[in-house]
């Protein structure tokens, strides 16, 4: 490999990190946007290169500053990391193109540069979390992404965004603190922060209550960050009141990376201790996941604000991912991992489309969008496609996830769970079809008379993601192949 490519793992994080201060220094809105776009696409480029490299030659390590692990910080890239990197940077790239018009409409122009600086910082934090092999370094990136996210949410159009942001700040800080307590306890017992090292040393002390307490803190802390039911209280408000572009970015990436952290820490680091099977963690996870799927899908049906309905749907969809993880089987894990991608694509597409509606109509309430299908046909068609994917109709990515989840449940001998998975997807029919009926099956009211289709850049970005949710549903061999490899690698470290 040539010299510059050798440093790809570092570049993926350092480039966005260094760009943020530049954006603040430049201050001009268009320059800030251009830089944010450039950085997002550059990280997509790096991520794809990394993914190809991992698929070709297997997992590899990168030592920050040449300091050998476990003393220095190790960046370790395996299939799962590279897959998550690709998801995050792809969503960020699409959202960055989209954000210009949306940000212009929703945020004062003197604060645009702050939005883009935070956007880039958030991206940096998310990518860093996905790539690092050091548990404390992960905490640093977690805080970078969290702090920038609080700011992004707080930039929303009305003052409710501030309370949403504050709530997220408090709960997010509790989560991060729990994480750091857990890591601290593990460090106390092992004297190392390197994940691979931790995974090696922890099994010998698995019987101590310190290690068990560490695991408990970590599960709850990460559970808060990924909005696992019933720790999701911060999410609906944050997604509803954040600026549209920020909501689309967060919906596709933030919770996904937290799920990745869960996989990496709970399965990767604590997998070999045998605690996952000794303690009823998977059983609890399964019950909570099923509860999320039913309760939050049902709540989504009754929300008057569509962004809020989609936010609750996100919590339900996180439930699907956690359910896949809770099976602790290759198929189940692969289903969960592939749903990281699948859900990111379709949910971001939906939030982008709603952002376009918010731009033109000024509201995303269901009674404000009656008949909008005639006025914004392209945007609402994207909602239809991504919505069908959310239901899990064949030829969309949602179907792929559902298929493997059910297969994992059936091969695991848990047919009632399989029935519940399919039954819960029927709730998605209700909350998706409500939108479709409102948008397409009512004549547009007089207040919509002057509504035009959204700007081209917004429609295009929305359709890139909506199209991806069909493309990867038509041929899921690529995504499923990567997910299966990632699941295999993860399961190697899990004690039976």
């Amino acid at each position: 490999m040539s010299a510059p490519l050798e440093h790809l793992p570092a570049l993926a994080v350092v480039v966005p990190l260094m760009t943020a201060p530049v954006i603040v220094a430049l201050r001009r809105p268009w320059a800030a946007w251009l830089l944010a776009c450039g950085v997002s696409w550059a990280s997509l480029f790096f991520s794809v290169l990394l993914l190809l490299q991992v698929l070709e030659s297997g997992p590899f390590s990168y030592l920050m500053g040449g300091w050998a692990a476990p003393w220095g910080i190790e960046y370790r890239v395996d299939q799962l990391d590279a897959f998550v990197l690709a998801i995050v940077s792809a969503i960020a790239s699409v959202v960055s193109v989209y954000s210009r018009k949306s940000v212009e409409a929703e945020i004062d122009s003197e604060r645009h540069y702050l939005f883009y600086a935070m956007f880039v910082l958030c991206l940096c934090g998310l990518l860093g979390m996905a790539i690092t092999g050091d548990a404390f370094n992960l905490f640093v990136f977690l805080e970078i992404s969290s702090l920038s996210t609080y700011v992004l949410v707080g930039m929303g159009r009305d003052r409710r965004a501030l309370t949403a942001s504050l709530r997220y700040l408090i709960l997010g800080t509790v989560g991060a603190t729990f994480y750091v307590i857990g890591i601290g306890l593990a460090y106390m017992m092992t004297g190392t922060l390197n994940m691979a090292d931790l995974a090696q040393r922890l099994p010998a002390m698995a019987h101590t209550s310190t290690v068990r307490a560490a695991l408990a803190f970590l599960v709850v802390g990460i559970g808060l960050k990924m909005a696992a039911f019933p720790l999701h209280a911060w999410l609906p408000n944050a997604y509803t009141h954040a600026p549209s572009a920020a909501a689309a970015l967060l919906a596709g990436t933030a919770t996904k990376v937290s799920v990745y952290v869960f996989l990496r820490i709970v399965l990767g680091v604590f997998g070999a201790t045998g605690l996952l099977t000794a303690l009823p963690i998977t059983q609890v996870l399964m019950v909570l996941a099923l509860a999320a799927m039913f309760v939050c899908s049902a709540v989504a049906i009754w929300q008057p604000d569509l962004k809020r309905a989609l936010a609750y749907s996100s919590v339900a969809q996180i439930g699907y991912i956690l359910l896949g993880i809770a099976f602790l089987s290759e198929t189940g894990l692969a289903a969960g991992i592939v749903h990281l991608f699948n859900h990111a694509v379709m949910k971001s597409a939906l939030f982008l489309a709603l952002g376009a509606v918010a731009l033109r109509v000024g509201s995303t309430r269901i009674d404000a969008i009656r008949g909008i299908g005639r006025k914004m046909p392209l945007t609402m068609a994207a909602v239809l496609v991504a919505g069908l994917s959310l239901i899990g109709v064949p030829l969309t990515v949602g179907f792929v996830s559902k298929w493997y989840l059910v297969e994992a449940a059936l091969t695991g001998g848990m047919w009632p769970v399989a029935v519940l998975i399919l039954a819960s997807s029927l709730l998605a029919v209700a909350y998706v079809w409500r939108i479709v009926e409102a948008a397409w099956m009512a004549p547009p009211g007089p207040e919509l008379a002057h509504i035009r289709e959204a700007p081209t850049a917004m429609v295009l970005s929305t359709w890139v993601l909506a199209g991806a949710s069909v493309w990867f549903g038509l041929d899921a061999t690529q995504t499923m192949g990567v997910a299966r490899l990632a699941a295999q690698t993860l399961l190697q470290g899990v004690a039976p």
Partner: protein, 490 residues
């Protein structure tokens, strides 16, 4: 042209027509010409496939993997051929009918109507030609979704409610039950390809076979087995051409066709017989046949009565499959064609009456046969076919189903068929009698003295009525396909 190209063409032709239909939206004559032309071409393509199949060629077309290890593929076999012939053959006839109906009825959004109609036909072709259960399921769901705008065409609150029932039951059963059965099949058998003799033989046994079979049969909501039949009467709010082609032919036949496919190619008759896994279906289908007929008796709205008659007739196919005797399975396959021709005629006639006289209730139709002799004549032929009397197609299929039932000593089935014949006669013959011999009541709105419906509509319903008789006189083609299904010569 190679056989697989022909098959691709059968799938694509209706889809390719969608673009021109939308473009020609402002010129109704051109727009309908596109539909008719595509329909004629489609018939030619399907007939081409028929001759290939007769020569012993089995066209196969792989689209590539959708999920690892699971491909989307088309493969032609006799049952699919039969369904494709029925659906493709009746499409242009229905377009012809729709020209008269939609314009006579001053329906709005006709371009959208013809466009979705073409997509629905493409989906039906996909179902007919599917080479494995995954492909079939994909097209099955596509058919559900693309017929939704047709069902809710009127856009009224009533149509919206009906649309919810339609989508709720069809999507609910297919995702909740059928998909579960498909994934379980995949987990058990490791394949979803249709294979003569079934793919589950030797993989499962005991009560699980019955459970899985029930998941399939109830999961295929389009077959309208009670209690999942409510969507069909609800779908009657659609314009009559939709009720005629989709809810008497393409959609419902896709349902019973899928059940037959599953019976023959997923389970195999032997596996079902060994485990007594289809016995319950004899009762369930029998119940549906009788119960739906009784409900039909009580309906005064003609389309509603026809809808319940359809529910009843669909279960004949299920009954034929459940008896598991080769003859009754043949009867079930023939009934797909026979009922299609008869019921589309009846719906055409009902719609023609609606356009010409604005009458929807049977009690208003006394004496209408004298004003609309062609329409009601065709209606009579269709009704005879429903009852199963010669010289109509319904007689042929009923004969085979009954022979199979007698041969395998299924006296329940024999009793059900006999009873339902009486019930069918009870709810069809009075309509015909009063139409021709009844005295027109004083329905004070003689705002216009109507004659026949528009010519294209009358033409279409005469064609299908003639088809019902032709199928009785010359059943060779259908018999050959149904026989080939079981690997025997007629």
């Amino acid at each position: 042209m190679t056989p697989s190209t022909l098959m691709l063409l059968a799938l694509l032709l209706p889809l390719l027509a969608v673009g021109p239909i939308l473009l020609a939206g402002r010129y109704p004559n051109l727009r309908e010409a596109v539909s008719l032309g595509a329909g004629a071409l489609l018939i030619a393509v399907v007939l081409g496939l028929r001759s290939q199949l007769a020569d012993g060629v089995v066209p196969v077309l792989n689209f590539g993997e959708m999920l690892p290890g699971l491909t989307l593929r088309l493969e032609l076999e006799p049952l699919g051929m039969l369904f494709a012939l029925v659906a493709a053959g009746l499409w242009p006839v229905t377009i012809l009918y729709a020209i008269g109906y939609m314009r006579g009825h001053h329906e709005k959004n006709q371009t959208r109507f013809y466009a979705f109609f073409a997509i629905a036909i493409a989906a039906a072709m996909g179902i007919a030609l599917s080479g494995n259960m995954l492909t079939l399921f994909v097209f099955y769901e596509v058919l559900t979704i693309c017929t939704f705008p047709l069902v809710t065409h009127a856009g009224t609150p009533e149509a919206k409610r009906a649309g919810r029932t339609y989508l709720g039951i069809l999507i609910g059963t297919s995702i909740g039950l059928q998909l579960l059965a498909i994934i379980a099949t995949w987990a058990l058998a490791g394949t979803l390809d249709f294979a003569p003799g079934g793919i589950l033989a030797g993989k499962v046994s005991g009560p699980l076979v019955g459970v899985l079979f029930a998941l399939y049969v109830f999961g295929i909501g389009k077959a309208a087995l009670m209690p999942f039949h409510r969507w069909l009467p609800a779908a009657m709010v659609a314009p009559t051409p939709v009720s005629a082609l989709l809810h008497a032919v393409a959609v419902v036949k896709a349902g019973v066709f899928t059940v037959l496919k599953v019976t023959l190619y997923i389970f195999g008759i032997d596996l079902l017989a060994e485990n007594a896994a289809a016995d319950w279906l004899v009762w369930a289908a029998g119940f549906t046949i009788v119960a739906a007929s009784v409900v039909a008796l009580s309906k005064d709205n003609l389309k509603a009565r026809l809808a319940y008659s359809t529910i009843s007739q669909l279960s004949y196919v299920l009954l034929g499959a459940a008896i598991l005797a080769p003859l009754s399975v043949m009867g079930a396959a023939i009934h797909i064609a026979a009922h299609a021709l008869g019921k589309i005629t009846l719906f055409f006639a009902a719609g023609a009456v609606m356009v010409a006289s604005h009458k929807t209730e049977i009690s208003q139709m006394a004496g209408i046969g004298r004003k609309m002799p062609w329409t009601m004549g065709a209606f009579a032929i269709g009704a005879l076919s429903m009852i199963g009397l010669p010289p109509t197609a319904g007689f042929v299929s009923k004969w085979y189903v009954l022979s199979g039932a007698l041969q395998s000593q299924q006296m329940v089935a024999v009793a059900v068929v006999t009873l339902s014949t009486l019930l069918n006669a009870a709810y069809f013959l009075p309509i015909i009698h009063s139409a021709f011999f009844g005295r027109a009541g004083d329905d004070h709105d003689h705002h216009h003295d109507h004659g026949e419906a528009p010519l294209p509509s009358v033409l279409a319903l005469c064609v299908t009525a003639a088809g019902t008789i032709v199928l009785f006189v010359l059943p060779d083609q259908v018999l050959a396909l149904a026989g080939a299904l079981l690997g025997r010569n007629p």
